[in-house]
Amino acid sequence: MGLTSANSGGSEGMQLCIFDLRRGQQEGQELDKILFFFPADLPFSNQLSVIGLSEGLITFTRIFSPEAACEVIEAERHSHVFYEAEPDIWMVMVVEKSKEAEAIWRVGALRAVLKEIHSLFMMFHGSVREMLEKEPSGGQIRAHLYPFVMDYLSACQNRSPLDYCCWDFLVGKKIQLPSFRDCLKECGTVQMLTVGREAAIEVQSLARVLESGAGATTPCYSLILFQDLLVSTTLSPDDTINLFAYAVQRLTPRALSSGVSSWSYLRRGNTPDLVAGLTFATVSVSEQLHHLHAPSPSQDNSNHVKRPLQHNRWSKEKDGFLVTDIWGREMGSLIPATPTIWLRQTGERMYLCAYQYKSLTLILLVPLSSILNGEQGVSLVKKQVLENASLKTLKVEEKLSKGWGGENAYHVSGYRYLLIDDDRNVSRASPPVKVTTLAKESLLAMSKLREEVDLEKSRAKWDSADHDKDLEICIRAKNNAWVVARTTRGKELYMVLEKADETLLYASDAIERFSNRVPLLASSRAVALGGLPIRVIVNEILSRQIPSIAIM
């Protein structure tokens, strides 16, 4: 197994560890706590130091705050971001701060990365605790976590301007984490395509055909994407977010094509002269260390570990279905095994079938339990999909392409914005190419403002009485840009206006105009269909999504 990706990641500036507080409580067994550590070549004493400090502060803060232990440590040179992924399973990311290197972080954005890593891991492998219970030595979980997180961190570099999600962390030698420059993005949310009512109806009927075509007795689920944008889902919100993130990474046409270039880049990046050989672990060293961590008794786990985040392992077949050999091959055949995932909400295990036609990606999830004869049954489902849905797919693709405004479809001139619907985890933002035109000062001010709003939100969460805090903050920064945050009933709007007039009233007007004219967030509708409750999210052009707070 080649942990090639490990090499392209620099250890400098970032550490990430996952540990279990229930393990290694006896002296001399502390190493047992560590389930994952990046960089793996950091001496164990240092790894234990980081985990020891984290553990110490978790215990310490519980003295005063039993309901919520340590979330972040800010030191002069580092930030430690905590996330309790599962009870007593902690993920801690340590990032170095540096003004020159633009390493200015928003804690909330970093925590969202940890959350996404864990959610995706759950989707493919189930919970960490479960795996530990199955195999208490910890070898199995380590063997799974290591390649998984490494693959995540080394996600492809080439991103289209359409990729709103903060995903690519490895650029060159450095891990690119969401910094202040990403303040107008929101990880862990879904970006949606705005469609007209007519197209929405077509999409709905396509989803219906897909799910019924599977012919299963238990409910199937579907996810439809156009380019990198979600068009429809029948999954629960959590599962939608996870699968959407995965699709945008590995399945959409852009992900498939960019994978190629990123692969070649990484290959080149692995040559010793490009990677500062002294500071980074070589493959063998990191693997050795990794195996020290995971003394797997008889079986070599790593051979059986699936790496769903590995690059360039998906390709499009002639019939339009996407295939990968990540899940191995059928016994005695060359047919790749169909991928499976766990649904968060129902705990069901599902086959994942992805079909692509031009810009349209359809993902169908079929319960394992409903298909008795394995791969044979899956290919039957695929055949049915082709028969029943091809025509509809064609039509929908055509319709959506026609209405598609291109990469800058959601650009609103004069505004740089991010809109988040917390209730449904949907966000929309100015295209990244437009955001890059903003001055550094404006972005820093916005990042800071978001941090402030994050704090207000988390406080409101603990006060729980007024969960939805109405808040409006307009700041005129030193560089004369207006930096605006507005939260209303679970919706958040962040905006930077650089060329606005200097009066507050003008800025307020600009915000009002934006709220009035921009097709904002999607609305969700529950549609009951053939006895099956299917939740379809359809985008509509809404005239006024963010209600202005009453002004006299």
């Binding site: 550490q15 240092n46 130091s49 980081v50 020891g52 400090l53 110490g56 502060l57 310490f60 803060t61 519980r62 003295i63 005063f64 705050s65 309901e67 919520a68 232990a69 340590c70 979330e71 972040v72 440590i73 800010e74 030191a75 002069e76 040179r77 580092h78 340590v94 200015i104 000062e441 820093l444 001010a445 800071k448 402030e452 988390s458 406080r459 603990w462 007024d466 805090k469 109405d470 808040l471 409006e472 903050i473 307009c474 700041i475 005129r476 920064a477 030193k478 004369n480 009066t503 507050l504 009233l505 307020s508 707070i549 009453a550 002004i551 006299m552």
Partner: protein
């Protein structure tokens, strides 16, 4: 004779003494300290030959050979002890002047400290307290608690001072001695991060966040300060409060305490601060009502221009005769202030000094002469403060570098008091206390011509002399356009003016909430990385807050949450105009500009 004497006498000519000679004195201490520790005449009879008793030893030396001893910094540290271990002596007698700034005097044995502190608390001294918060009692409470008590863990805001070896020095709640274990934990966290758990460079922990709680750390040489709070105050504010607590400690001891830690890392500082709980608790209390604690500016008692001029003139007279600073204050508000040539006083130093004086009961009962250190002025040297209350709220402070200036300052005070009485300044001060400051209800209309001198701060109501007048709640609903309150800070003057609270900000709780909102706004505007911002509009369920920062002034205003943006902006402009119209009355003008 001694170098100190020469430096203090030279200070008559040079009002801004060079700290260097004092520094040199510190050097000399280390050489002499050991020999001193052999001359132990311990007051408390415990006779421990540790650092502490050596200081006590030199303390006795100090008492016996007062004049010679001044040149060593032990003299400075010990003189603190000295005035603490001595009971108050009326200073009118011919003996050498005594001073005592402490209510809870207890010597260094500390056997019955808790009782004494309770006693102080029970006196119910109410000073330095916002009128509306008169219920607050100074002094330490909940001494019976420790980190095992649920009640202790649930306190909203803890403050700790500890030494770098983990010895507790001060805790807002609970008995320091019982908190030794907890204190060691805090020390362990700080030093673990400091000692390079990540790399050889080491790091410095600033903040830990957990749910609603924040743990804020501040390291000042061998002194560690920690705040644990769930009050929603921003990190920057809490850190600023720790800085002030440290400053308060320095004001009492000077930075010379660092030397004690250099000599003996396990040095126990608690006896040095014995009886000062009231000082810290009153400072901590001010963190929830006194805007000076985050604005880093001071405020003046509103007075007619001529009245303040008269007070300033006599203070200036005195300053010319070798007084470094002459300050006349009424509660936490400045009546007048004069610094000797070139000497300038930082607003934080004024805050700490007035807190020290107002929180210590004994300053009220007798004229006092006390060594104090102004941390922003010179953190390594003691000055000497002559303090005398002219009436129940008004007190005069005369600061000098000379330790034997007591009689001279006493003469000065008598002169000043005579002039102030003659020119009715004191009665004007009392009158102003009753009249209060600016009321938002009195905000002049848009185009009305204003006459600043016609009435007190433009009050349109018939002025009444009834003392009860300003205690009764206004039936009003604040000022025009939903204006509830404002703070105006003049950057050039280092002064601020805050409007009086009026409906609906009536209860202490509402006032505290508004105070915290301002604090948050201030931190948001003065972001270290890319601030200060220019304007901020903030609307939540409680207020509309508008902030405006220019090179000349900062304006913080609070409106009804339903206030109209446009009208609010107009109102802000009117407030600025109003402040300019009455600036002669509300600010001390012509004071030496501050040099930082």
């Amino acid at each position: 004779m001694s170098s100190s004497d020469s430096s203090s006498s030279s200070s008559v000519d040079d009002p801004n003494p060079n700290p260097k000679p004092l520094d040199n004195q510190f050097e000399s201490l280390n050489l002499e300290q050991e020999s001193e520790s052999t001359i132990i005449q311990n007051d408390d009879g415990e006779g421990q030959q540790d650092q502490e008793s050596s200081l006590n030893g030199s303390l006795n030396v100090n008492r016996n050979n007062h004049e010679q001893d001044d040149r060593i910094d032990g003299g400075h540290v010990t003189s603190v002890l000295w005035r603490r271990t001595n009971s108050e002596v009326e200073v009118d007698g011919p003996s050498s002047p005594s001073s005592s700034g402490y209510a809870g005097e207890r010597g260094s044995s500390g056997a019955s400290e808790d009782d004494e502190i309770h006693e102080v608390a029970n006196h119910g001294v109410i000073d330095g307290v916002f009128d509306s918060q008169a219920a607050w009692l100074p002094g330490k409470r909940h001494v019976d608690e420790d980190d095992a008590s649920i009640s202790w863990r649930k306190r909203k805001k803890h403050f700790f001072i500890l030494s770098h070896s983990g010895k507790p020095i001060y805790s807002r709640y609970g008995d320091e001695h019982k908190l030794a274990g907890f204190s060691a934990t805090l020390q362990a966290i700080i030093s673990f991060v400091e000692n390079g758990y990540m790399d050889e460079l080491g790091d410095r922990i600033k903040l830990v966040r957990a749910g609603k709680h924040q743990v804020v750390f501040l390291v000042k040489g061998p002194i560690y300060l920690v705040c644990i709070s769930c009050t929603e105050e921003p990190y920057e504010s809490l850190r600023g409060q720790l800085e002030l607590i440290y400053g308060q400690m320095i004001l009492i001891l000077t930075k010379a305490v660092n030397r004690c830690f250099e000599k003996n890392p396990k040095f126990d500082m608690t006896p040095l601060l014995g009886g000062t709980d009231v000082v810290f608790s009153s400072l901590i209390h001010s963190f929830s009502w006194n805007p000076a604690t985050f604005l880093h500016a001071y405020t003046c008692l509103p007075l007619a221009y001529g009245t303040r001029q008269a007070a300033g003139a006599i203070l200036q007279d005195v300053a010319d005769s070798g007084v470094l600073f002459a300050i006349l204050m009424c509660k936490h508000k400045v009546v007048s202030l004069v610094g000797a040539q070139k000497a300038s006083l930082h607003p934080d130093d004024m805050l700490l000094l007035s807190n020290f004086i107002m929180s210590s009961e004994s300053f009220r009962t007798s004229e006092s002469f006390s060594p104090i250190c102004l941390p922003r002025y010179n953190p390594v040297a003691f000055l000497y403060a002559y303090v005398h209350y002219l009436d129940v709220d008004t007190y005069l402070m005369l600061l000098t570098t000379s330790s034997d200036a007591f009689y001279h300052l006493k003469d000065c005070r008598i002169r000043i008091e005579t002039v102030l009485l003659k020119s009715n300044v004191l009665s004007e001060v009392q009158r102003s206390m009753l009249d209060g400051g600016m009321h938002v209800e009195d905000l002049p209309g848009d185009l009305l011509p204003r006459s600043g001198s016609a009435s007190h701060l433009g009050q349109h109501q018939q002025p009444t002399d009834s003392p009860g007048r300003f205690r009764e709640p206004f039936v009003g609903i604040g000022g025009p356009a939903g204006l509830w309150h404002f703070i105006y800070r003049s950057i050039y003057l280092d002064q601020y003016v805050s409007s009086e609270f009026s409906a609906p900000i009536n209860s202490p709780r509402q006032q505290k909430r508004l105070y915290r909102a301002y604090q948050k706004l201030y931190a948001s505007m003065h972001d270290k990385g890319n601030g200060p911002h220019k304007t901020q509009f903030r609307r939540d369920e409680n207020y509309v807050l508008l902030c405006w920062v220019t090179p000349d002034f900062e304006l913080y205003t609070a409106f009804d949450p339903l206030a109209d943006k446009g009208l609010a902006i107009k109102t802000c402009n009117r407030v600025c105009q109003w402040v300019k119209d009455v600036e002669n009355e509300i600010f001390l003008l012509g004071a030496s500009p501050f040099s930082w």
